[in-house]
């Protein structure tokens, strides 16, 4: 759902620059890298070309492409959207919802995860509740959210919060449990109290694990904020995308999808970046970005 539109934007922007890639020298490390980038670009270009061919020909092979817009139509619609204030209003609205819900979930999730892992009593009180609610997908809470909250706005934030809360809590709890005991012992033999251990060992030590949970949480938060907007919003990219569909504005649907994809990518990249900054002390291990 999110990967599709991203592929399309990339191909249209980077296609021309990278086409010259494979022509570079072979054998050298630089040449091999150029070749690989060339293949990657060609892969995107091929997908975009296939889309263009199928939609321009109004193909109806079992899958029906006749009502889907061509790349040209999408680009034109996108350019048009970028000039309307409504587009930015939607964007802002969705961002506010996701950042509020996600931000609350991050704080609550990290707190709950630490409490449950560090205090047996808190674990006894909270764990059964968490485990009882966790299997319910957040989006299934929409009816409850509508009944519970005075405005749709709050309901959407609630759904987003719930979606992101569980991945953050679970990863925090595991990260606390996986902490080597030697750091806590070191701080305690230097005279540190439980509070010192919390601030100087637990919080910094769990960051690598917590950021894993934040990444997952951001992903599901987007799924839920878009779904919730489609069901009950009056603004927001999710609402606008669904609205475009209902008024037979199919290029508008694709523009909405691309917008959602870009927003999702930007927020994930932001978390990744902050995470890398915060865990620079880790022994260097590449791999997450490739």
């Amino acid at each position: 759902m999110i990967a599709g539109p991203q592929t399309l934007t990339r191909s249209s922007s980077s296609g021309t620059a990278a086409a010259a890639g494979p022509a570079g020298s072979r054998g050298t490390a630089g040449g091999r890298a150029a070749l690989r980038w060339g293949i990657r670009a060609a892969s995107l270009l091929a997908a975009a070309g296939l889309w263009q061919a199928l939609t321009a020909a109004d193909a109806r092979l079992w899958l029906r492409f006749d009502r889907l817009p061509t790349l040209g139509e999408i680009a034109e619609r996108f350019a048009g959207q970028l000039t309307t204030p409504l587009y930015y209003l939607d964007l802002l609205q969705s961002l506010i919802r996701i950042l509020t819900g996600f931000g609350l979930a991050a704080v609550a999730g990290i707190t709950a995860g630490i409490l449950v892992a560090r205090s047996r009593r808190a674990g006894d009180v909270l764990l059964p509740l968490l485990e009882a609610v966790r299997p319910i997908p957040a989006i299934a809470l929409v009816p409850i959210a509508i009944l519970l909250f005075p405005t749709d706005e709050q309901g959407i934030v609630f759904i987003t919060f719930t979606a992101a809360f569980f991945p953050v809590t679970v990863s925090t709890r595991h990260a606390v449990r996986a902490l080597p005991t030697i750091w806590e012992e070191a701080v305690r033999t230097l005279g540190g109290t439980r509070r010192h251990v919390l601030w100087n060992v637990v919080l910094p030590g769990i960051l690598p694990g917590v950021f894993g949970g934040l990444s997952v949480g951001m992903g599901v938060a987007w799924i839920c904020v878009i779904s919730a907007e489609m069901i009950s919003g009056e603004f927001g990219v999710g609402y606008r995308t669904w609205h475009a569909y209902t008024v037979v504005d199919y290029p508008g649907v694709i523009v909405g999808m691309i917008t959602i994809g870009v927003l999702g990518w930007l927020t994930s990249a932001a978390i990744e970046l902050i995470g890398r900054r915060a865990t620079r002390w880790l022994p260097r291990a590449e791999g997450s970005r490739r």
């Binding site: 012992e185 033999t189 005279g191």
Partner: protein
């Protein structure tokens, strides 16, 4: 075993008159130590005199680290009592700093911030902390590395940082758990020299755990030998090469 408070060494006597907290005395009374249901050590009777360097040697699995963790207050005794400075040990304290074999530094803190940690915990002002940390970083020969993270240092350098961190707060006892065990032979000799050097200026009691008999003879005022059943012998380390060679034989026999 033998009560040895009276055999405290010259360093200890000098220490008791030095400024700052005097060395801490330890006493284990019929202490049983272990994890879960398994007793590692039983009926341990041991006295550590204020200001001395007591080296505990023993084969792996003999409970050296267990003993040290009990002295640190990280492991409550299953039976008997452990006294530090006449008071029963109920938990860790800044009086009893510990140096771990490896990875005892907080990896997200720079060298300087690791060394400052005990002072920070104690609420020492920022300027004071910085000054003390700088002094100790220099003392352990890490000038110019204050801003480095532990992962950017070699094993020997990390142990230097641990040493500085343990001593910067002027603890009354330093408990060292095979601190040089993971180092190569050359680095180890350098570290042993540094340790002797640094300890000359403190009055702290040192309990040092190792499996290396030569290290024990080099560093210790006394050597406690741990066998399967507990403390086998506590021996004074004499001056003079011949006497030391004899003692070495004796320790190897006890092991």
């Amino acid at each position: 075993m033998t009560s040895v408070a009276e055999s405290a060494t010259g360093r200890a006597e000098a220490g008791s008159t030095a400024a700052g907290g005097a060395g801490l005395a330890f006493r284990l009374e019929r202490a049983g130590l272990g994890y879960g249901r398994d007793a590692v050590l039983r009926d341990v009777e041991l006295d550590v005199a204020p200001g001395e360097v007591l080296v505990v040697v023993g084969a792996s699995g003999s409970g050296k680290s267990t003993l040290l963790r009990a002295l640190a207050g990280l492991l409550p005794p299953r039976e008997g009592r452990i006294l530090a400075g006449g008071r029963e040990v109920t938990g860790p304290s800044a009086d009893r700093a510990m140096v771990f074999q490896d990875d005892g530094l907080l990896p997200w803190r720079s060298v300087r911030r690791n060394v400052e940690l005990p002072l920070r915990i104690r609420g020492v002002s920022r300027g004071e902390r910085g000054r003390a940390a700088r002094e100790w970083i220099e003392k352990v020969g890490l000038d110019g590395f204050a801003g480095h993270l532990p992962r950017e240092l070699s094993g020997g350098m990390r142990q230097r940082v641990q040493l500085a961190r343990a001593l910067v707060g002027a603890p009354r006892a330093v408990l060292m758990d095979e601190p040089f065990g993971a180092l190569d032979a050359q680095t180890r000799v350098g570290m042993q020299r540094l340790l002797l050097d640094v300890l000359r200026d403190t009055s702290a009691t040192v309990v040092f755990v190792t499996h290396d008999v030569d290290e024990a003879l080099l560093l210790g005022d006394r050597v406690a030998v741990l066998g399967r059943t507990g403390v086998r012998a506590v021996l004074d380390v004499p001056d003079g090469d011949d006497a030391r060679t004899n003692l070495r034989e004796r320790i190897l026999e006890e092991l």
